[in-house]
Symmetry: C2
Subunit: 596 residues, 2 copies
């Protein structure tokens, strides 16, 4: 059964208690967002997700989207839910008040995003893609474009998409062929085909604003000749309401492994009118603005599904009775003990729990940096925050989504045979989560971004934004009795990460394939250290609360237990990653292409 | 695209070259199965799988089984394929000639099984379950039952099933409720409901023979009161052809994550006539005869899917062009290099390859033991072989299927966005493979079987059947120059396994939850060592071939390269498993049930 209640206590912990000393500060811009107010927002969001979005998750998966006579229909209930969503102002939550947004800090907004993704991942893509689009327009569009288009998009009245991929090019956008021909009025005629366009067409909004990568005539070859265009489904009329059709058509929707209530469209642009966003031939920069926002959000998607899978597994593990505890009957009043008593079921539940809590803590840290990078009054803090988010964006995207698939599959395993049946709802989590490892740049591409771009950038400045706080924490926590073993474990894993960094930097300089061969293991190693650091900090915070006395003893005790599990059972994976990195590229590249 | 060609060269390697010194000997019973003959069988099977079964794999997934008016229809083409399958004698391959079988050694048969599962996992279940049924009847049934029923089942004319699970009991069969009331003629009336019955009903054969677990009146409680019954769908008439309906009905079929062309049925038995198989109240023993056969076969299912996923991924990695090699353009004549040049794609392909080759080598070893345990003229060898298969059955089942899911998901990842689209065919492998980790005892149950039953059995005799050859091999290979690093790696991992064994044995004696908490990591560790041993042996065999000169240089060189990859990139996982085992149960069991 799909069970979900937002983990509000843990969310308040990562928002208000864990990262106060991270140097990103309390931002004056967000003074009004007091814990009382953010609490209320989280409560409301939780209610909306549980009552409106969750009940449509399985029915949406069963029904899927349909494509008839060129139009896409979302599953039953999605349109009404979307209306409620925008009417309640959820769509505008994190956007700039200048365009009608509510200016919520990312630190809070990402928690709401997590809830939405837990409740209904497919649904989350409709507002999610719109938000990616508004970010690109805000960051790169002319004032005219902003003033015209952003209010409609920020409110969610019109939706948005990102049109990048073509049949022959996904990762390698240099090969893209969609054309943009300049017109006398300053607009462009866009012609070409795009695939895998999430929310490319649907019935939720009266208009859809596509952000399309295309080439102008005589543009330089490769990625340096790509520009970004705003291309609406319907051209606005004089009142800026949807007017004439703009030659934008959905040719088909994809039949996918999961995420079935999200329409994935093949889009044709047939001389469609569009307007340039940003500078000519600088489309990749604008695209990366969307993409980076989206990459963190895809990480959050993973976390969201992981949490829902965990809760659904816990529910079943308490409900299903089978066998007796190895240490003697625990529930004599029942025909058998609930399977939560069995160590191997515990192993699965605790693993999921540790993944989710670890990712949530890391995500809260990154979200605070996202806020500081935009809103800190201190230029140094802004720069440091930017370094940190640049470094952590690929980690959040790839780590969270890899762990999400693992969690979803563990949930299926907890259900046993019943988990393989669609009716249980858990196999949907495994199918839905699977896409998060792929879109917005596969996780392999994230790893390459980390070692190839982020690791060496500014002579290692990005790295230092993460390494410094970790090594400071280790130094100041040494000799802290109850945490001794944890700090030792963290120090060992951190040492492996530092050594790996040096190895990759050295080898990779002479041979980029060495960096490529190490990339995925290096990203995982960094993720393991980052979660370990968060768990150790959390243990310290919890320990202090327990020492000084708290009404919330159970929460802090459970936090320390989960942290201990993480250190004993999950962090040891760091050794395997380290050894794999150390071995270098040789065995990976030894077979000739035709020997496969 | 689903691509599959049986890896015949590698199959001949594991069959004829790798395990000749394993002590299980060349069996006189199989003298007639010369390499020439087995080659011809493997060639023929390969052709049948590629030409008949593979083309029905994706269409079977799309169409699925249907349940109308109480009858199950398999997807288009399945019936014709099944007819061809039985007519060509594939169904009878491994069965005893006494009942019309062809008496093929398991060592060869398991390779054919692998091919069938690669080509069409859903299809494989129809003959697979029948074979499980014949094994139980052969092992426990009366002569009358055998002579009546086996010929029909061995030929595949009639199919079979195993009816164990009920809605409230899967793992914990002690709770089962299906009743068996004795009749005056010695038969029984069987009444009850079973779920998750693979091939419970279908249109491939005119009759289906169910093997049903049920309780006689006044039977002892729990598993000691369960008996096994043979219950046909139609009662045979005087000519032993299907006669009157026997009150066996399929109430519904399950809608599953994958394996959609295999009918998973809810079966009702309504006073159906059945005959006791084996002794009253000894049904669990008979059930385990089926189950153990099936468990190894489910491992092979995993290997089959893993191989198909690997081949499909290799095909795509050579076909899809995207980006340029980090070490400079490799295919200047193409718009971009095929993605097989990228180290991270290599990582995924090599991982799948190493998993498949490792599992195939281990499976070949176990299959030789299965043959020796039945057919060796030497009682000591038979006993040793039985020890070894008992130990390895849970390892083969759980390890192979865990790795299969990993491989299938890696294949999806190699395809990127295209892999998430059903049309590509690879996401089907991920959905199909997923069930193998669950049915015939979840992989957690396999791990418990290993630590709780197999590890300590006969004062460690089962273990010694594996530990002895490994330690002998390490001793005799030390100082073998080119293999030095490999042997060191194997020795380290084997040391970790021995230490873990001692730890679990010691702690588990005082507290069975300690063994439970270590089980899954211990099984993985043993699997990693077993594959490592096989890869090291293979390297030795290949090295000798290369040293003395061989026409098949490319094969042996590739084998050594894959083995090297295994030792450098995969075996290091053993350390993580070892550390997890060492940490004990405490952090796993620390949260109270209601703290979740």
């Amino acid at each position: 059964m799909q069970v979900y209640d937002a983990p509000l206590r843990d969310m308040r912990f990562v928002l208000n208690e864990l990262h106060n000393d991270d140097g990103f500060g309390d931002l004056p811009a967000f003074e009004e967002f007091t814990p009382d107010l953010t609490d209320a927002i989280l409560e409301e969001a939780s209610k909306f997700c549980r009552e409106v979005l969750l009940p449509l998750n399985r029915s949406g998966d069963e029904e899927g989207c349909t494509h008839e006579n060129g139009a896409v229909r979302t599953p039953k209930g999605f349109r009404e839910a979307y209306d409620q969503f925008t009417e309640a102002g959820w769509a505008a939550l994190a956007s700039d008040p200048e365009w009608g947004g509510q200016g919520l800090p990312e630190a809070v907004n990402k928690l709401v995003e997590e809830m939405i993704c837990s409740a209904n991942l497919s649904f989350s893509l409709y507002p999610g893609l719109t938000h990616g689009g508004t970010t690109a327009i805000e960051g790169h569009g002319s004032d005219e474009l902003k003033q015209k288009w952003l209010p409609k998009m920020v409110s969610g009245e019109w939706a948005g998409t990102m049109c990048l991929t073509e049949p022959h090019c996904g990762t390698d956008l240099g090969m893209l062929r969609t054309k943009a021909e300049p017109q006398e009025d300053g607009s462009f005629k866009i012609t070409g085909s795009k695939i895998f366009i999430s929310s490319g067409d649907h019935d939720l909004t009266p208009n859809i604003v596509h952000l399309v990568l295309a080439r102008m005539p005589d543009a330089p070859k490769g990625v340096k000749g790509i520009s970004l265009f705003l291309v609406p489904k319907f051209l606005p009329n004089a009142d800026f309401e949807p007017g004439d059709a703009n030659g934008v058509n959905c040719a088909a929707i994809e039949h996918k492994m999961g995420l079935k209530a999200s329409a994935t469209c093949q889009m044709n642009f047939d001389g469609s009118t569009g307007w340039l966003v940003g500078e000519p031939n600088k489309g990749m920069a604008a695209m990366f603005t969307m993409m980076n926002t989206e990459r963190v959000s895809v990480g959050i998607q993973g976390l969201g599904v992981g949490e829902a899978a965990y809760q659904s597994a816990v529910w079943y593990a308490k409900d299903r009775v089978q066998g007796r505890s190895l240490s003697g009957t625990k529930y004599p009043e029942k025909a058998a003990d609930p399977i939560i008593v069995h160590p191997d079921v515990r192993r699965m539940l605790m693993t999921m729990r540790a993944y989710n809590e670890g990712c949530r803590m890391l995500s809260a840290w990154v979200s605070r940096a996202l806020d500081a990078q935009k809103h800190s009054p201190d230029a140094d803090v802004r720069a440091k925050a930017e370094d940190f988010t640049a470094l952590m964006t690929p980690v959040v995207k790839a780590l969270f989504t890899d762990l999400a698939s693992e969690s979803a599959n563990l949930a299926v395993q907890v259900y046993g045979g019943h988990g393989y049946i669609r009716e249980s709802g858990v196999e949907q989590y495994a199918r839905d989560a699977r896409i998060c490892q792929i879109y917005e740049g596969t996780n392999g591409i994230q790893a390459l971004d980390l070692v190839g771009r982020k690791m060496g950038a500014h002579f290692g400045r990005n790295l230092r934004s993460f390494f410094h706080p970790v090594s400071e924490f280790i130094e100041e926590s040494k000799g802290d009795g109850p945490m001794e073993k944890m700090i030792e474990g963290l120090e060992r894993a951190f040492g492996a990460l530092q050594l790996s960094t040096a190895t990759i930097a050295q080898k990779g300089l002479a041979d980029p394939e060495e960096a490529g061969a190490a990339a995925t293991d290096y990203l995982r190693l960094m993720g393991l250290v980052a979660m370990g650091y968060c768990f150790a900090k959390a243990t310290k915070v919890a320990g202090l609360q327990l020492f000084f006395g708290t009404e919330d003893k159970a929460f802090y005790e459970a936090k320390i237990k989960t942290a201990t599990f993480y250190f004993e059972r999950i962090l040891p994976q760091a050794t395997a990653s380290f050894l794999a990195i150390k071995s270098g590229k040789k065995s990976m590249m030894a077979l000739a292409d035709d020997e496969f």
